[in-house]
Subunit: 266 residues, 2 copies
């Protein structure tokens, strides 16, 4: 019998355990063994064994009352360990702080993960307003400046794949046409920064520039986020902001060991 996923060398039980974790993480509600078994198409007893093992490892917790399962605390610790080990993030801490205090806006750093940008660092706007931390959040690449800045410098096969992939609309202004998006990417390589104007959240804009690693490949991007009135009034970002973002991103790239190749971003 040939399993649905025919990739060679995949360890079945580990892959299934990962699918269980994903299922528990996607829905907001906790799930029971039966529900998981139905969703994943795996025998109930099998799910039980996997879930029990995950519970012993604290990847999953069981609600004492209902017997249903939810994600466990070990995942938070491992997620934090991922951040600690993350080179772009750790090197970006000082640069992001510096940029935030210089322009008085919030700063985000993200890496491409599948077809979304994963936020790995977030500095609040330096005022007392209530802001929610976005580290760990994922945003479709085509709906944020971080994504467009990164993908613009990605190698052709990957870029084309991303342009061909699904491009969901988050707001009425999200660019969902691959050709328009491709033109945007050309503009990014020309200008050295990417702009996003209410394409993810109405009223919010973002200015981002790519960050390169020691191989000259895009490692991610760094950008300013904030109200559209300040960042992209009538679609035009203030020159002081775009200059600051590009400058900090170049400094961070150098920090990552990027050589002259990275200069194409400027």
């Amino acid at each position: 019998m040939i399993p649905p996923d025919t990739r060679r060398g995949t360890i079945q039980s580990v892959e299934r355990a990962a699918r269980i974790l994903r299922a528990l993480g996607s829905g907001t509600a906790r799930m029971g063994v039966t529900e998981l078994a139905e969703d994943l198409g795996i025998a109930k007893g099998t799910i039980h064994g996997l879930v029990r093992t995950l519970e012993q490892q604290e990847f999953v917790e069981q609600d004492p009352g209902t017997g249903k399962y939810r994600l466990g605390p070990a995942l938070l610790q491992l997620g934090n360990a991922f951040l600690d080990n993350h080179e772009l993030r750790s090197r970006s801490l000082l640069w992001a702080d510096s940029l935030a205090s210089r322009v008085g806006e919030a700063v985000r750093v993200g890496v491409l993960n599948g077809s979304t940008m994963l936020i790995v660092h977030h500095v609040f706007r330096p005022d007392d307003s209530v802001q929610i931390l976005e580290v760990g959040a994922s945003i479709p690449w085509h709906a944020c400046a971080l994504g467009k800045a990164t993908v613009a410098y990605e190698e052709s096969p990957r870029r084309d794949a991303l342009l061909a992939g699904p491009l969901p609309a988050l707001t009425g202004r999200t660019i969902t046409d691959p050709e328009r998006l491709r033109e945007e990417l050309v503009a990014v390589t020309r200008d050295g920064f990417a702009l996003e104007d209410q394409e993810a959240i109405v009223g919010e804009a973002e200015i981002a520039a790519p960050v390169f690693d020691h191989r000259g490949m895009p490692a991610g991007a760094l950008g300013l986020v904030g109200p559209v009135e300040r960042l992209a009034l009538e679609g035009h970002p203030p020159a002081a902001f775009t200059a600051a973002v590009r400058e900090i991103a170049r400094g961070l790239s150098r920090d990552m060991g990027a050589g002259r190749l990275a200069a194409r971003g400027g």
Copy 2:
């Protein structure tokens, strides 16, 4: 052949995958297949299969240059999903904000995880100073007020086990004597709050109160952290602070569905 861990019903490959993730998360450096195989006492080929599966699931990433492995982005997403699903955390957001702005100090919320308190929420002190986010961090229970507040109300067997466990000293003031610690816990149940005076970090103190769930069991704790001069001058916390912490923790407990039983905390 009997494996070292003789627990019934544990799925070997999943448990090994978890150990690999822990190993990658504990050290700051990335690890290779050979190193993992030696550390975990598993054949190299076996490690490779596990790691490849984890890589497909984006639980680990391979460094293209060195071939070594590090933790992957899926863990950050799952860690965030854990926080989103976490009842104590989500219910504490508003209460913690309110407490922070009322007393002008940083607020932390933690849950007991093994023998450490895992920070699940952290509100910065409402000023412009640079502060690092501690969500995801783990602190030995006996070295923080959050831990003492929670353990004081834990059931005897668990409390005794924690008191019997290793009690490492983090500073010269960490309480490492089980008997003194037990007296501290009695004081907590008497006063309704726990105090920590430079037992984890020199110069820092914490005032915390327990939070109870709908079963009247401690779900975690909520507390103020800050410089010892403001929180515990000569070991005496300001009455306004202790009152505020207890009041907010009681409100949060009610929010969690705690009935009268939780009143023993006040």
